[in-house]
């Protein structure tokens, strides 16, 4: 039976206490909320922090609030299940509820938090393995060696952002609120992720994610999320496609975003695909052109289940289907 390495556990009762603990222990410490990703990774000895700062007792961070002026605010400790079942989210940000309900299993949705899902460690076939397995291979870029096993020429780690929520939040134009010793700062969610799977978050080790904010839902907004997976439960996305569009009263698309995920270390915004939609009535021809544009911009690697070629091919199909969802049945806000 695989077990956790030794560590000491410091529960934080407030954001200030969490930040103070993280500052105190520096690189020796990691914050943990639901633990569903971190503990599994620790059992494989991907990390062995000396101190875990437990965020779970910070009850104030478990909330989902909506206000017509400020929009949607999600506390980092709201569970994935909270998000999936939130009436306001289901009604106004349906793709977000759908993405949340597509995550893993009932147990893990009840345990895992929204903040934790955004901070998932990047994943790769060569990385999410036990210590012995990785050692026999000679490790990889993300693991202290100087070579990427996915693409030997790559200087950066290509491990995948496997969050189902990230692309949807990015498509909704979310911001991420971080608290550190110097106070709070706000990042556009696109800036929260980096291009290197080794260090894929713009979060300082002494900061914690406290809140995610989404702009108010405009009339005529529609959203959808689709996920390529091998089973109907448990699995991380092999490809995630999120789209948010806004139609005017005449049914013409005025705003559009298309975000692809599970391809590399960060979600990829398919800007050209979105451009192809604006000004159209989301006719099938427009969707096809947009799907082609998304196909061009997405660059999967041989680092997740199934083959690179298949994931690449599915980019077009899944983008098309996601756009059909927003054009058709995607519930309007």
């Amino acid at each position: 039976m695989q077990r956790l390495p030794p560590f000491s556990y410091e529960p934080a009762r407030s954001v200030a206490e969490a930040v103070a603990l993280l500052s105190k222990y520096g690189a020796d410490a990691m914050p943990v909320s639901g633990g569903t990703d971190l503990y599994a990774n620790m059992k494989q000895r991907l990390f062995a922090p000396k101190v875990l700062v437990g965020l779970r007792p910070i009850r104030a961070l478990r909330f989902i609030a909506y206000d017509d002026a400020r929009g949607l605010e999600i506390g980092a400790l709201a569970t994935v299940r909270d998000l999936a079942e939130s009436e306001i989210v289901v009604a106004r940000y349906p793709a977000l509820a759908r993405a949340a309900s597509s995550i893993s299993t009932p147990q893990l949705r009840a345990m895992g938090t929204v903040g934790g899902n955004l901070c998932l460690d990047t994943r790769c076939n060569y990385y999410n393995q036990n210590l012995d397995w990785r050692a026999a291979l000679g490790f990889c870029l993300k693991n202290g060696a100087d070579i990427c096993r996915v693409a030997t020429g790559s200087r950066t780690c290509l491990a995948v952002n496997a969050s189902d929520l990230a692309p949807v939040l990015q498509a909704f134009g979310a911001t991420v609120h971080l608290a550190g010793a110097g106070g709070e700062r706000t990042l556009d969610i696109a800036q929260f992720f980096t291009d290197d799977g080794r260090n894929a978050l713009a979060r300082d080790a002494r900061e914690i994610l406290v809140k995610i904010a989404l702009p108010p839902a405009q009339p005529g907004t529609r959203s959808a999320y689709r996920k390529l997976r091998q089973r109907a439960s448990f699995d991380f996305p092999l490809l995630g496609v999120a789209s948010v569009v806004r139609l005017d009263a005449g049914g013409v698309c005025r705003d559009a975003r298309v975000v692809l995920n599970a391809l590399g270390p960060r979600p990829v915004e398919a800007l050209e695909a979105a451009q192809c939609l604006i000004g159209t009535r989301l006719e099938p021809e427009a969707l096809a052109v947009a799907a082609d544009a998304a196909y061009k911009v997405g660059k999967p690697m041989e680092n997740a289940g199934t083959t690179l070629a298949y994931r690449k091919r599915m980019l077009r199909v899944f983008t098309r289907r996601t756009l059909e969802d927003v054009a058709g049945a995607g519930a309007p806000a």
Partner: protein, 165 residues
Amino acid sequence: MSVAPPKMLATLRVNGAEIACAFNPNRTLLEVLREDLALTGTKHGCEMGHCGACTVLVDGETVLSCLTLAVECVDREIVTVEGMAGAGELHPLQRAFVECGAAQCGYCTPGMLLSAAALLESNGAPRKSEIEAALAGNLCRCTGYVKIVEAVALAAERMREAAHA
């Protein structure tokens, strides 16, 4: 820093009983239940959150005990399969599992029962698809799920009848 952190003294509330115990912070709830409290009804199947065999209830919600620290469960209500039966009487789910042949090798059964119990707690009249969704985090390698889903439906029906009576 290489010295192991000291054991924590804590009281866990398991199946309605307060149990004083001492464990290192890196012990999972699964390990403490099985190894310290001799509650071996909770099973280890993959220890990585991939199978659901170790499912227990914490404050009424299904939780994977292999990915939960025991220290995180202090002051919370833990229910394991050993706590499902009432005084001398099986939980309706347990009875239905027996009658429907829902337990073959039985290794997934405790986790299945607790996932089902959490479902029936919030939804007394689940449709078949809702039962399947609620059990989608519990792998079974023996039954093909058919008789498990039947058993949950049967238990739900009986619990509704009992509530009416």
